[in-house]
Amino acid sequence: MNPLALNAQLIETLSMVMVITSVAAVEIRRLRLAAVAYSAQALLIVGLLLSFAAVNPSLYWWAGTAFLTKAVLTPWFLFRFIGKTQERELPPLIGFAPSVMVAAVLMIGFYRLTHSQIALLAPTEMAQQEVFRTNLAVASTVFALGLYCVLTRRDAIKTVIGLCLLENGVHLSLVSLAPELPETALFGVATEVVVTVFLLLYVIAGVRQEFGTTDTLALKELQW
């Protein structure tokens, strides 16, 4: 695989835009807009996979799978669910301004940390080369943002979006860490994310019906 054949500028641009859309998906309070940001993020992943496919044709399959599962099915489930509910998410545990600051710190911190400590995370020679290095740094940043979203948001729908970001981060890291992963394994990983999102939204619909809200702090029936 010759990384020189890759369009590094395109990949870096797509990566940066992807981090921004991830922050947008976490921070935008209007749920529909947050889902739009998530969808854009998913499309950028597909774009990134296609860019990397120039040196690894099996990534075309990955891009196809990611398009179907992440950019079509998951947004469809999210929009169907959000369509019936209130427009804005419930106030998260952290206010908007401090949350944006935390997200920014996470974004810069994780990006720099992964980029400088790449040998720890990426044992292969290929993954330590520049474009793949950026890819891994972006993947870990998206992962951290997803985890942050899941931990600090009260609205169950927002936690699902956070979970999707978390999974997208891992998925993206596979490009550098496991480029020779067979399609069956990849298909299994990608399919499960969609099924998880579907099941979670199905259960959250039940929660909304029974509790009258999607506030996870209202789930207090089972304590200790």
Binding site: A185, L200, V207, F211
Partner: protein, 508 residues
């Protein structure tokens, strides 16, 4: 142990998970048919899985390792033991459910019509749940191991929320969300393990996915990366196995699911996750034996936290669920030691806990079936009206407390001896202390529910009767197993011995 191992190509590993998978699909396709069809299919499929497990154990004891689809599926003694536990637990839970689910309110907490409508979904999901658990134990592919463990969450998520009321939905949401987050870490761990193994250039890319091959190159992985992989795997599979502090989903899910599902979750599923943890982390033991102390510390923390939390519970099912957390601590301590004796004790305890925790959950289910009550403070004096259930519960309680000559005593003793032999006296003392607490918690609950004077107006108005035969037969069978394995601990020795040898990587 310089015995020659022969690799044999066999279709049994594939059949072990395809049978319940196809069975579950048939139940979904035949959802318009009668109850007898769904239950018959579930019994047949889980029974066949158990028999396949026994058959594979027989072949493995003969010195063979069974493989399918190249080396994609691989059954050694450890995998065969797990398939026996999953198949046996699945069959008995299904048998128990045959009458349990007919009681309106026990499957759906709703009327008979809703119960009947939901029943095929219940059996279909139970069979798929079994299939995914077996798949996880027979796969040799590191990424598929993650896929299978996550698949067990997906197939059981709706079973946990099956009652679809406030409590069940809360438990279901937490279950799906927390386990998926946790398991995502395991995916990172699995992928890093694969990438690191491939980077050693001692094995080619495709083979770096196979756990049996990765074992041989684990020592070449850089220490920092290895530590990161272990941390991710412990968080990921440890969450699923109910290891503290990643356990908060467990008491909710195990308590709120319908009882036959609780039997599967507590009796079988957490063991399967522990298997995944042991299978993957143990490959690093020869190069980094310091990991053993970390595993033992985590295990002792889990056993103490679990039993202290159980002490404060009034709800019988939550009490049992917390006790499961504690018992998984014992298994982790045993397997985490990495010595032959530790692994033997850990696996023996895994088998024993599957038996008596399934038994105890079935007994509590029987109490709920007969009275509709599950709070210790509202029950009492049931021994006269429910003699079989009462005897079985006492036996299970004594077994889990490690009372001689029952099976729990044997496996706990093995773990204590292993700890002492490794010089970890502090852990040995904590384990014995936690065992005494287990005795207090379980025997006190048993006394209160079955012998204590009846409490509460609700119970006084009830005509309590023993549960139907088809429910107590599995209970009596499991209670008998507690006694037999306690008196004849040599019975499972051949299989446990070989299975422990697979995991034992730190001295002997």
């Amino acid at each position: 142990m310089s015995e020659q191992i022969v690799t044999v190509t066999s279709s049994l590993p594939a059949a072990a998970f395809l049978v319940p998978l196809v069975g579950g699909t048939l139940v979904f396709l035949g959802r318009k048919l009668q109850r007898a069809f769904w239950q018959g299919t579930a019994l047949l499929a889980s029974g066949i899985t158990f028999l396949i497990g026994l058959r594979m154990s027989g072949q493995v004891l003969g010195g063979a390792v069974l493989t399918t689809w190249g080396n994609e599926l691989r059954v050694d003694a450890l995998s065969a033991l797990m398939v026996v536990v999953i198949g046996g637990g699945g069959f008995l839970a299904t048998l128990y459910s045959v009458r349990y689910v007919t009681q309106p309110g026990l499957l759906t907490r709703a009327g008979a019509e809703t119960t009947a409508r939901r029943m095929p979904t219940f059996y279909g999901l139970v069979l798929w749940f079994l299939a995914t658990m077996v798949w996880g134990c027979v796969t040799n592919n590191i990424v598929m191991l993650y896929v299978a463990v996550e698949a067990t969450t997906l197939t059981s998520g709706l079973l946990v929320a099956f009652y679809w009321d406030r409590r069940a939905l809360e438990a279901g949401y937490k279950y799906l969300m927390l386990l998926t987050i946790g398991i995502t870490f395991a995916l990172l761990g699995c992928v890093l393990l694969y990438a690191s193994a491939a980077a050693t250039q001692q094995i080619d890319g495709g083979k770096a996915l196979l756990i049996s091959e990765v074992r041989h190159v684990a020592h070449l992985i850089p220490a920092g990366t290895a530590l990161l992989i272990v941390a991710f795997l412990v968080i990921g599979f440890g969450t699923k196995a109910g290891i503290a502090p990643f356990h908060p989903w467990l008491p909710d899910a195990h308590a709120e699911a319908p009882t036959p599902v609780s039997v599967l979750l507590s009796g079988v599923m957490i063991k399967m996750a522990m298997y995944a943890l042991a299978r993957t982390v143990s490959i690093f033991y020869p190069s980094w034996p310091q990991l053993t102390v970390f595993a033992v510390a985590l295990g002792t923390f889990t056993m103490v936290l679990g039993i202290v939390m159980a002490l404060t519970q009034d709800d019988l099912k939550r009490l049992l669920a917390y006790s499961s957390v504690s018992q998984m601590g014992y298994v982790l301590v045993g397997l985490g030691l990495g010595t032959y004796l530790g692994c033997y004790g850990g696996l023996f305890h895994l088998l024993n806990h599957a038996i008596y925790k399934a038994l105890l959950f079935m007994c509590v289910g029987a109490v709920i079936y007969a009275t509709g009550i599950r709070k210790v403070s509202e029950l009492g004096g049931l021994a006269r009206s429910m003699p079989v259930t009462s005897a079985c519960f006492f036996l299970g309680a004594l077994a889990i407390a490690g009372f001689p000559p029952l099976n729990g005593f044997m496996s706990k003793l093995t773990i204590y001896l292993a700890l002492a032999k490794a010089g970890l006296w502090w852990a040995c003392a904590i384990a014995i202390g936690a065992s005494v607490l287990t005795m207090v918690v379980l025997v006190r609950a048993a006394y209160s529910v079955f012998w204590g004077s009846p409490h509460g107006a609700a119970l006084a108005q009830l005509q309590v009767r023993e549960v139907p035969v088809v429910m107590w037969v599995p209970m009596v069978f499991l209670a008998a197993a507690c006694v037999v394995l306690g008196i004849f601990p040599q019975a499972p020795f051949p299989l446990l011995d070989k299975a422990a040898a697979v995991l034992a990587t730190v001295g002997r």
